[in-house]
């Protein structure tokens, strides 16, 4: 799964006039082919990003022209109590969800990779939930875990265990949402499974000849080889957790008893703001309190954090890959 780039030494010579023209034509051709992607990137990523940063320095109610307020929106974050709550909730998801998703995907993929029969069926069954729409998936979990009424409550009752209130309990609401997110992480599982199946058999055979058992083979062969894919899983999970919105809103609304109120005030963050994630608070500020300047400042902070986390992880991944290559070459 690792890819290496071979260094190509280019001997620079004074180009002939015709050669230069052909190179320019070549570059233009490349640019023409890349133009749709560049345009799309500039229009749907660059423009919104720069505009958002611009709005973050303004007071903007979505209707009237924005007024420049400098760093006021950023300063307000320090006095906004729910901003801190939202940061805490999102960090909780970043830590728990990242670890849980990667471990879960690795565990399930490792088991499937060792199966002798029924591989296709198990793989399909594990992947299918990831195709479920987030609203439907969350509502299914809400109904299954519903206190007094849901099947999970009855199941735990057979063993004399009192079920927690899950989405209605500020302590258990986040683990409940994490359970939904794990159930739909079949996409990561498939990627990890592909990486495991891609590990060269010779490495296992060599390790086996050296007397390594299944656990040591997994630890010393499988894990290092698929580490770039696991790092991708980590980055992907962090971004997923930082953007957690739908599941939090649906779970909170359903647990509050106001899931199908249309137009009326919906209860966001229920119970006791335990599901008020950073994106939910951002949405609330922008679209329910009409403070788009502040929402843009929050979005900018979220972008910076996501970017920094991704950059650090990618750098570490590259470093690890280089060390591994250096190590294997020695």
């Amino acid at each position: 799964m690792t890819a290496t780039l071979e260094r190509v030494d280019v001997v620079r010579t004074t180009p002939a006039k015709g050669w230069s023209r052909s190179r320019a034509r070549h570059r233009l051709t490349v640019l023409a082919f890349m133009a749709p992607a560049i345009l799309g990137f500039a229009l749907f990523f660059g423009y919104p990003l720069i505009a958002t940063i611009g709005f973050s320095f303004t007071k903007y109610d979505l209707i009237n022209p924005p007024e420049w307020v400098g760093l006021e929106n950023y300063a307000y974050m320090f006095s906004d109590k729910l901003f801190r709550t939202a940061v805490y909730n999102t960090l909780w998801f970043v830590v728990v969800l990242t670890i849980a998703r990667v471990v879960f995907a690795l565990g399930v993929a490792s088991v499937i990779a060792r199966l002798k029969t029924g591989v296709g069926l198990v793989r399909t069954l594990c992947y299918l939930p990831s195709l479920a729409p987030p609203v439907a998936a969350t509502l299914v979990f809400f109904l299954v875990m519903r206190p007094n009424e849901g099947p999970l409550d009855a199941f735990l009752g057979w063993f004399g265990i009192e079920s927690p209130l899950w989405f209605a309990d500020p302590v258990w609401a986040k683990p409940g949402i994490a359970a939904v997110m794990l159930w739909v992480s079949g996409d990561l599982m498939i990627i990890v499974l592909a990486a495991i199946l891609d590990v060269p058999q010779e490495q296992y055979e060599a390790a086996e000849l050296d007397g390594a058992g299944p656990v040591r083979r997994w630890w010393h062969v499988t894990l290092p080889t698929i580490s770039p894919v696991l790092m991708f899983g980590v980055v992907n999970s962090i971004i997923l957790a930082l953007q957690l919105f739908t599941q939090a809103v649906v779970a909170g609304s359903a647990a509050s008893g106001s899931a199908d109120v249309t137009g009326s005030t919906k209860v966001l963050g229920f119970p006791e703001n335990s599901t008020l994630t950073f994106p939910v608070w951002l949405y609330t500020q922008g679209f329910r309190y009409f403070d788009m300047g502040y929402a843009a400042a929050m979005a900018t902070v979220l972008f910076v954090i996501s970017f920094a986390a991704t950059a650090v992880l990618v750098q570490r991944m590259r470093k690890a890959t280089h060390q591994e290559e250096g190590g294997s070459g020695a």
Binding site: A51, I63, A168, D260, T265, N273
Partner: protein, 442 residues
């Protein structure tokens, strides 16, 4: 280094220009003065957005079609399931409807102060419209700081629902009139299993559940949102009294016990509603519940009454809210749109027919008194409340429902026993609301 500076400068320039471009996209120039009304035989079309769906959308469409009595060649396109976010997006994109119907009055402050909805005063003055036809409380939630940018289309009034059989079983013959009686009756109608778990709750006090929301409860405790200086004033004996009443009931049930019971109850607008399922004996709710009960739980023998109050002299007070109509900024045909808004606001036959269709309260005095209005014993409670002149509307602010969330969050912490000092906590909520309003600059 010079490259870096150049890149930074370019970035700042791009940011400023793109922000200006993005912000400018939603602005359109409004004409001064009221737009002319169409001629009776003119052919024109109007687009109306509302958040209605299903049967209610059909009823509203019928009401809109009645406009053709005045303008036979008008064509009206009614699009349902359009919430306030979509209305705002429509205005920003320069493609708003001619008339927008909003289900919530939470956003009226923003709609009026930002200019999202056009000011209607010039039309009202030109056509000599008598706003005195609209009850005071309804008028209050359709304007902001003297700017009337919306008109009401029916209203909701809140009162007490009680299960007659459950009250009779507990030896209670009349519904409670004071909160002290409510507390007593709630205890007497509550049923607990031998292990202490709740089987039936006399009255569910959990805040932010069903209609248990601070703005809906507040009038019955004499609680006001603002002081004479216009600032948030929740740190008052009235608000504290409301929360203490609530906490007394929470403590009676036991918070954990109550939460376990509540978490298993059905959704507010489903057949599974706790009152439909006879799991609660009394509750606060709007007049629309009479239609839900008739349709979904015909076996529930229920009665309605004004919601109990903290002091006897307050009895008969209640909360009101409703659907509002406005002409969005950038509407293509504002002159005709105003004629439609006026028709829906004041045509008694249309209002009565619609009120009968979706079981809401008419929003004019004439329609409230109209003999064609279908009023049974339970619905009469709400009509009486609506004509009492004692109703209070939603507090109007430019910050959406931020103030409701602030006190709602506080109340849920309070009921969980996480607030050591009630008055100090309420002062913090005041500060939070004032800060948010100050930040809006409106």
């Amino acid at each position: 280094m010079r490259k870096l500076h150049r890149a930074a400068l370019l970035f700042v320039a791009a940011t400023v220009s793109l922000t200006a471009c993005a912000a400018g996209s939603g602005s359109t120039t409004e004409q001064s003065g009221p737009a002319a009304a169409p001629g009776r035989d003119d052919k024109f079309s109007l687009t109306v957005w509302s958040n209605y769906s299903g049967r209610e959308q059909d009823e509203v469409t019928k009401a809109l079609e009645s406009f053709k009595k005045q303008y036979p060649n008008a064509e009206i396109k009614h699009e349902g399931s359009q919430d306030d976010d979509k209305i705002t997006a429509g205005i920003r994109s320069g493609n708003p409807p001619d008339v927008a119907l909003s289900f919530t009055t939470d956003n009226i402050g923003q709609f009026c102060s930002s200019g999202s909805f056009q000011e209607l005063k010039p039309y009202i003055e030109r056509d000599d419209v008598d706003l005195g036809q609209i009850p005071d409380a309804v008028r209050s939630y359709t304007e902001y700081k003297g700017n009337r940018c919306a008109m009401p289309m029916l209203s909701d009034v809140y009162g007490l629902y009680y299960n007659k059989d459950m009250l009779a079983e507990a030896g209670i013959t009349t519904p409670p009139k004071t909160t002290a009686e409510l507390l007593d009756f709630a205890k007497r109608t509550t049923k607990k299993a031998p292990d202490g778990t709740i089987e039936v709750a006399g009255f569910l006090p959990t805040m932010m559940f069903y209609a248990n929301r601070p703005p809906i409860w507040a009038p019955n405790f004499g609680a006001k949102w603002t002081g004479s200086d216009g600032k948030s004033a929740l740190a008052t004996p009235e608000w504290a009294g409301m929360l203490e009443f609530q906490k007394q009931l929470v403590d009676f049930y036991g918070y954990e016990n109550l939460e376990r019971f509540r978490a298993g109850l059905g959704q507010e607008y489903s057949n599974d509603h706790a009152f439909h399922q006879k799991k609660i004996a009394m509750m606060m709710d709007g007049e629309y519940r009479t239609a839900f009960l008739k349709d979904q739980a015909p076996d529930v023998e229920f009665g309605t009454a004004p919601f109990p109050t903290s002091t006897p002299e307050l009895y008969g007070i209640g909360f009101t809210t409703g659907t509002i109509m406005g002409i969005p900024k950038g509407a293509k045909n504002p002159g005709a749109a105003w004629e439609l808004v006026k028709h829906l606001s004041f045509d008694t036959e249309t209002i009565v027919t619609l009120a009968n269709g979706i079981k809401n309260i008419p929003s004019t005095k004439a329609a409230l008194a109209d003999p064609r209005l279908e009023v049974d014993e339970n619905f009469k409670t709400f009509i009486d409340l609506a004509t009492s002149g004692k109703l209070q509307g939603n507090p109007v602010t430019p910050i959406g429902d931020a103030h409701i969330k602030a006190i709602g969050d506080f109340a849920t912490s309070w009921q969980a026993g996480k607030v050591p000092d009630l008055m100090a906590g309420l002062k913090e909520v005041d500060q939070q609301i004032d800060d948010q309003i100050a930040k809006s600059g409106k």
